[in-house]
């Protein structure tokens, strides 16, 4: 009798949440997947207005040079940006947990870009660092007697955007690493020191292996961050979408809502882009789970 009552309570408590999940997440996902196989102009068009397209939407996006460029840019952000962000974040985390003075100040300073609006941060980089006339970089080069350059030209714009983005992202991942390092008992390091291991040996033989699960978390967060990359691309190309900074979500946005001066919309192709991006996240998550196993160490 009691067990039946408990079941009722469990259902009463979980039903609202389950229904919300179904309505807010599962239904849109299912609709998007189905929509990706149909010709649909407006994202909220009635299903009676949809026309079956087979895999034409997927063929369209996979044959689009702009989509190729967007994927290329995203992968570069993921790989190059990922290596830079996670390397700097780990380096700063190790330094800040090594007992240096003013730890709290440095931690706050490195994290600070995360509490500043990305719009303000991007504007700062574009106007005060990359500006050809009075930007910090060209002024620095000028002081060295070198010639300045257009950091926002077609050949440099992507890298300019990436550096600015990396600058803003390091602090977040650093905090996660710090949390992971502080979780490791000091006794382990003490024992290693007594055994004659130096700091570098301790880092590679103790810290790194015990941070495996933290790496997995950070790589997953970074992957999601890269796939949903949008604002920085828009800030570095505020009027028109530009090939040097285009990423899949911007391409999706333009495909679904049209662009400056062109009102053509294709919600079906937009849905196909969304499905491809979701698959990408699923693949990354699957690989992370296979490659980095965090359950074989206990401490």
């Amino acid at each position: 009798m009691k067990s039946k009552k408990n079941r009722l309570f469990i259902i009463a408590f979980t039903l609202p949440c389950a229904l919300s999940l179904f309505i807010m997440y599962l239904y849109p996902i299912m609709r998007t997947v189905i929509m990706s196989f149909f010709g649909v102009e407006s994202v909220t068009a009635r299903t009676s207005e949809w026309s079956f397209n087979g895999v034409a939407n997927y063929q369209k996006i996979f044959s689009s040079p702009t989509f190729h460029q967007a994927i290329k840019n995203m992968l570069l952000i993921w790989v190059v940006g990922g290596i830079l962000v996670l390397s700097f974040a780990l380096l700063f985390a190790v330094i800040l947990t090594s007992g240096i003075r003013f730890k709290k100040f440095f931690r706050a300073a490195i994290y600070m870009p995360n509490i500043i609006s990305a719009v303000a941060l991007a504007t700062m980089w574009i106007q005060y660092i990359y500006n050809q006339e009075y930007g910090l970089l060209n002024k620095f080069l000028e002081a060295l007697g070198l010639e300045g350059r257009n950091w926002m030209g077609t050949d440099m714009k992507f890298w300019a955007m990436l550096v600015a983005f990396v600058f803003g992202a390091v602090g977040y991942y650093m905090l996660i690493f710090i949390n992971g390092i502080e979780r490791i008992s000091g006794d382990i390091f003490e024992a290693a020191t007594i055994d004659g291991a130096n700091k570098i040996q301790q880092f590679f033989s103790i810290t790194m292996p015990l941070l495996r699960s933290i790496f997995k978390t950070n790589i997953t967060f970074w992957s999601i961050n890269c796939i949903s990359f949008f604002l920085w691309s828009k800030m570095f190309a505020p009027v028109n979408t530009e090939a040097s900074t285009v990423v899949p979500v911007v391409y999706l946005y333009d495909t679904v809502f049209g662009t400056t001066g062109n009102v053509t919309r294709d919600a079906g192709a937009g849905a196909a882009i969304g499905v491809v991006l979701s698959l990408f996240i699923a693949i990354v998550y699957f690989i992370m789970n296979k490659v980095i196993k965090d359950d074989d160490l206990e401490f």
Binding site: F9, A12, F13, P16, L19, S20, I23, S42, V43, T44, A45, R46, K60, S64, P65, T66, Q69, I126, Y130, N131, Q132, E133, N150, M152, G153, T154, A237, P238, V239, N240, T241, E242, A243, S244, V246, D254, T255, F257, G258, T259, T260, G261, N262, V263, T264, R265
Partner: protein, 462 residues
């Protein structure tokens, strides 16, 4: 027992919370979640009931509500979705217009300030027949994307003599777009903020260099040469407007329709005029007629026109003059001339870019005449003059006076019969546009030695 009661209470709170979050607001007066809504209570709103959504969508006659402007609209409620913010000059003028309309007619108007992102939410809102009576957006988007959801304004416009209070170019263009989309003409909107493109220049710098406004490319090159000899950098250019600038140039060599076809299908190298247009632009660039640092990141290059007395011209739409004035905090002496034509292509020399933000009325609006009267109040007469003065824009009513920053624009608009589209066909292929645009920026960066190389690079994208 206590636990049971507590559990039930908690469950009730959760369910109520979720229900409240998901409340459908389509039925009545919509309230903006973003909090950017301003409600205007008329001084005598009385017991007016929300009109709700009309079921007879598509019935554009609306004869029962039709009354002449200035009529008593006591009890009428209108919802106005604006593409501006209430802190912007345009928003302030709209607010003033609405206040006046309410005072004169007794209607109640609710403005929802949606900002520029209105284009992303309008379609869904119109499809679900959300309480919107009139809204603002780009007139092409209205005529093509929302054509099924907006009222045909032909009869009301005719009755109001609107043809004499507007530019013919917008009327004919929107009807043609609606016909493209649906097979029949439809008068979908009234122009609120007209735009015109061309070469905007500083009159004082032209006077200083002793040059006159050019009409042909040869004359334009001469003007640039003289300006440069006088220590003035001829042309500002930001990458955001690279395709607009080169599109204008190309449209003097190749008809816009052909540019659009090449944008869709390729074949740029097969058209000798493309290489010729690019060659003449390369000659212009190599002569050093672009301002220092151009093509620069928007808005750095355009700002140099106002921040210094060293840069004379820019190819853009008319809003650039207000942007530069506002950034520099000065009132420059602006002039406008149409993009110069090239020899042997006289038939392509006269066209100019024209566009507009316009006001449309939903086809399910229950008080179309009242909505139309409000729209007319905004786009004509003293409110329109106020809008032109305070927002620094072209008056929607040609009888009004353009502010100094828009000098010459009304004349160009009046003379334009077949307007060029934004980017003059280069943007016709929306999917490929970012890559095409990159090639154009590279042309201005000096990455192509010849026009043929440029055309070949464009074809390489297909």
């Amino acid at each position: 027992m206590k636990k049971k009661v507590l559990s039930l209470l908690l469950a009730a709170v959760m369910v109520t919370g979720l229900t409240a979050c998901g409340t459908n607001e389509g039925g009545g007066n919509s309230k903006s979640d973003s909090g950017n809504e301003t409600s205007q209570e008329s001084e005598d709103a009385g017991d007016s009931e929300d009109t709700g959504d009309s079921e007879d969508a598509g019935d554009s006659e609306d004869a029962g509500d039709s009354e002449a402007a200035g009529s008593n609209y006591e009890g009428v409620e209108l919802t106005y979705w604006s593409m501006w913010a209430n802190t912007e000059p345009q928003g302030k003028v709209i607010q003033a217009a609405v206040d006046k309309f309410q005072e004169e007619t007794g209607a109640k108007v609710t403005i929802e300030w949606k900002n520029r992102d209105v284009k992303d939410i309008l379609n869904s809102a119109l499809e679900s027949k959300e309480k919107i009576d009139l809204f603002e957006d780009d007139y092409k988007r209205i005529a093509q994307n929302y054509v099924d959801y907006v009222a045909d304004l032909s009869e009301m416009a005719e009755a109001a003599g609107y043809a004499d209070k507007s530019y013919a170019v917008f009327d004919t263009q929107q009807k043609a777009w609606a016909k493209d989309k649906t097979g029949s003409e439809k008068y979908t909107s009234v122009a609120e903020q007209p735009q015109v493109g061309g070469i905007f220049y500083r009159k004082d710098l032209f006077e200083k260099a002793g040059v006159e406004v050019p009409t042909t490319w040869t004359e334009f090159m001469e003007v640039c040469k003289t300006l440069k000899e006088n220590g003035i950098q001829p042309l500002a250019l930001d990458t955001a407007y690279a395709s607009f600038a080169f599109g204008y140039h190309l449209s003097r060599y190749v008809p816009e329709e052909t540019i659009g076809e090449m944008s869709e299908e390729g074949g740029w190298s097969s058209n000798a005029d493309v290489a010729a247009a690019a060659d003449s632009m390369i000659e212009f660039i190599n002569a050093g007629y672009l301002a220092d640092g151009a093509p620069d990141e928007w808005p750095n290059s355009q700002n140099k026109i106002g921040m210094s007395d060293e840069v004379a011209m820019i190819i853009c739409a008319n809003y650039v003059t207000t942007e530069v004035n506002n950034t520099a905090g000065v009132e420059l002496e602006w002039g406008l001339f149409n993009y110069p034509g090239v020899e042997g292509k006289d038939d392509l020399a006269a066209s100019a870019y024209a566009g507009a933000n316009s006001i449309a009325i939903t086809d399910y609006c229950e008080n179309k005449q009242a909505a139309f009267d409000l729209a007319m109040m905004i786009v004509t007469g003293e409110i329109d003059q106020q809008m032109a003065n305070e927002a620094g824009q072209i008056p929607a009513d040609p009888a009004n006076q353009a502010p100094a920053s828009q000098d010459g624009t009304v004349e160009v608009l009046k003379a334009t019969t077949a307007p060029l589209a934004w980017n003059m066909g280069i943007g016709e292929n929306a999917d490929l546009y970012p890559k095409l645009d990159e090639c154009v920026i590279q042309l201005f960066e000096g990455k192509f030695a010849t026009g043929a190389d440029f055309a070949k690079a464009l074809d390489g994208l297909y």
